[in-house]
Subunit: 134 residues, 2 copies
């Protein structure tokens, strides 16, 4: 069912210094920072030949990554995103297998403009999994 | 400098149930489990179209992932591995930029039979980074 690894998301407190780490120290190519007020984050993509790393910095008062950054002061890997062909079929399969889908269970439009769902970390080896319709 | 994302490694306590999650719930293709006593882990690879997920379970008394699993009872993302063309040139660049390389600073032969280095999470957005010579 899962297809490509769409991205690995790394939450950071200070976007500028995280960009410097990836650009200057690791020599990677970065996209411009994009504030996404509707998602409570500012994003920067690190473009690798086969996938992307997404740097996430909190934006606004109720950022969904604020609590994660309280627990992980240096930042850390926040979630991993797999592509699926059909997000509703994927959701139905997961629910049938007993896995928990976060929120209402209805896909939302994610930071890339595509339907996404998040899955409960306790059901997926302690990792927050995002599914994105490819 | 960094090239492809070689793999994302997820540490798990119970390899069988982690395999079931990826095989049965997420419908992915898994490689057979390979005990790697010299690395203190048993590995299973999840083959995605563009990269791999590496499941790591502790093996033996002094597994390098034992402490991580004490702190993360459900498991979690342990490290992320980027490919580099020349690991010694990469190491020298990182040291010049002030980043800390773990251990002696000399590459070791990793679980895939290639030279690897691990970098200090505090210098890389709170994430443990492995570099592997491609």
């Amino acid at each position: 069912m899962i297809g490509r690894l769409n991205h690995v998301a790394i939450a950071v407190r200070d976007l500028e210094s995280a960009c410097a780490v990836y650009r200057d120290t690791l020599g990677a190519r970065l996209s411009p920072a994009v504030p996404q007020p509707e998602h409570g984050v500012t994003t920067v993509f690190i473009e690798l030949p086969n996938t992307k790393i997404e740097l996430l910095a909190p934006l606004g008062a109720d950022s969904p990554i604020a609590r994660f950054l309280e627990r992980n002061a240096d930042g850390g890997i926040h979630h991993i995103c797999y592509e699926v062909d059909d997000i509703l079929a994927a959701r139905d399969r997961l629910v049938e297998k007993g896995a928990r889908v976060l929120g209402s269970g209805e896909p939302k439009i994610g930071a890339h403009g595509k339907p996404v769902l998040f899955l409960h970390p306790k059901d997926f080896c302690g990792t927050l999994v995002e599914l994105e319709q490819a």
